[in-house]
């Protein structure tokens, strides 16, 4: 069977910027940074105080009875965003479609909050037993399982874990299955919930978290700001989407992966450049056709100059005509969910013709010399856009999107 073109027909999101796409995209497109004092743990015990948390979150608004107890926060986020994406796409699941739908989600750390609470019981409170649901709540595939149960999906379903690239790798896998005709629909994205004391302490020890805010590509950037949440989308063959008169947000056109094989935390230029090139080739897109890149842009000392150099290496002089923004400046770095939230942002950007800015922007680092769309959004109708995700350990994944045909 010839490769099929793949349409995005539904999107869902829950993150610091909002609990649904309208709210989150509304905030992100205006350049509002949803970063503030961490409330889910006692941050006076941590060296950094700010994060991008989902505020006023009440699981009982989303899950009836004791069901919320079966899901760690990261899995709850996955289900919430998947519900929005499926409802948005207007999918009615027949038994045949349930057989032929895939669920692939990214997640970096599993149920960290659940795991932390188990350790507190065991080691701090010196209890002899722990909660019976720790195993099903902590497994990194828990989010995927609950999404399949939510919609009765029986097709190929699994979790992908590649640290901060997890979601892009997941979306790429789902894309390939739909494109090759292995499934007729996919629900894909990712989720993460890292605001647990043990996890925050681990990030503190790595010394990559900013004490103030996230200023990607700026000379005075001091590191990343952790975020949480989920992004989800519905993928289906373009022809099928047209046939049923579905709203088409954009086309997922290509996917490129690479490994640095270099260092467990320091990035290279060549690895990300290779992934960008592969995504362009896979999508059959020329550099001239791209005018927006949603950057990985973590605001760490290592990432931003390396990512800038990688973009320059691939795009050459054409790089000066790109708009490149890091929306992590607003929704934080949601780790295994980062790619999914940023993919939804990129899709909405193509759909609405608005390039979201890099918020909190002061003055560019001399080693970062692209147009980062500082602080204010820009009206533009890109033909195509990329969303970059690079990870600790050098596992890179880049998605290429085309505006709705």
């Amino acid at each position: 069977m010839a490769d099929r073109r793949v349409a995005i027909t539904g999107v869902g999101i829950i993150c610091a910027a909002g609990a649904n796409v309208a709210e989150a995209w509304g905030s992100i497109q205006q350049g509002v940074a949803s970063i503030g004092p961490i409330t889910s743990v006692d941050s006076s015990l941590i060296r950094f105080q700010n994060g991008a948390e989902v505020r006023n979150y009440d699981p009982s608004q989303y899950f009836e009875g004791s069901r919320a107890d079966h899901l760690d926060r990261f899995a709850q986020f996955a289900v919430i965003a998947a519900r929005e994406a499926v409802a948005d796409a207007g999918i009615y699941f027949t038994p045949t479609l349930q057989e032929n739908t895939a669920v692939v989600c990214g997640n970096g750390g599993g149920g960290q909050i659940t795991q932390d609470s188990g350790y507190i019981d065991l080691y701090q409170r010196a209890r002899s037993r722990v909660h019976p649901l720790i195993v099903p709540r902590t497994m990194a595939s828990g989010g995927v399982s609950h999404v399949t149960m939510e919609f009765g999906i029986h097709g190929p379903s699994y979790a992908v874990s590649t640290a901060c690239s997890s979601s892009n790798h997941a979306i790429g896998q789902a894309f390939q299955m739909v494109r090759r005709g292995e499934v007729d629909l996919a629900i894909t994205g990712g989720s993460e919930a890292p605001f647990a004391m043990g996890c925050l302490k681990a990030w503190e020890a790595m010394r990559v978290i900013a004490p103030d805010t996230c200023r990607p590509f700026c000379v005075d950037r001091r590191g990343m700001i952790l975020g949480e949440g989920a992004g989800m989308m519905v993928l289906e063959p373009l022809e099928a989407a047209r046939a049923r008169g579905a709203k088409i947000y954009a086309e997922l056109a290509g996917f490129g992966m690479s490994a640095d094989a270099h260092h467990i935390t320091q990035p290279t230029v060549e690895g990300p450049a290779r992934a960008i090139r592969r995504a362009l080739a896979d999508a059959n897109l020329a550099t001239e056709q791209i005018s927006y890149i949603n950057a990985h842009g973590t605001a760490t000392p290592g990432n931003d100059p390396a990512e800038t150099a990688a973009i320059r290496e691939v795009f050459g002089p054409r790089a000066d005509r790109l708009g490149v923004s890091s929306t992590k400046s607003m929704h934080g770095h949601a780790l295994g969910a980062a790619g999914s939230i940023e993919a939804v942002v990129t899709i909405m950007s193509l759909h609405d013709g608005i390039l979201p800015p890099t918020a909190n922007f002061t003055k560019a680092d001399p080693a970062c010399d692209l147009d980062y769309i500082p602080n204010a959004p820009r009206k533009s109708r890109p033909e195509a856009a990329l969303s970059n995700s690079f990870a600790f350990g050098g596992l890179n994944a880049v998605l290429a999107f085309r505006a709705a045909p």
Binding site: I46, R47, Q49, M206, R207, I209, P211, R222, P301
Partner: protein, 95 residues
């Protein structure tokens, strides 16, 4: 604690983290030349924080290039703690 004791302890800690002989480490040795990468540095700072019972701020940590930078930094934090200043206390001010 007199300077030489701080120096000795810093060098011993670095030697143990990097698993190299103490003799190989001089005050003016650059971390780069000793093959100490960013991950080794994080581990080294973590060990120093435990050994000296101090907290090394991230911004301070980023400026370290040589062994003497570390010795001076640790000394500064120890002195500040003695003076009752908050520099190097376990919590950083929110900003």
């Amino acid at each position: 604690m007199p300077d030489s004791a701080v120096e000795e302890k810093v060098i011993a800690t670095l030697a143990s983290v990097k698993r190299i002989p103490v003799e190989q480490i001089k005050l003016d040795s650059s971390l780069l030349d000793l093959g100490v990468d960013s991950l080794d540095t994080f581990t080294l700072l973590f060990e120093l924080e435990s050994k000296f019972n101090i907290s090394i701020p991230d911004d301070e940590a980023r400026t370290i290039r040589t062994v003497s930078d570390i010795v001076a930094g640790v000394q500064r934090i120890l002195d500040a703690n003695k003076d009752g200043s908050t520099l190097g206390s376990t919590t950083a001010p929110a900003s």
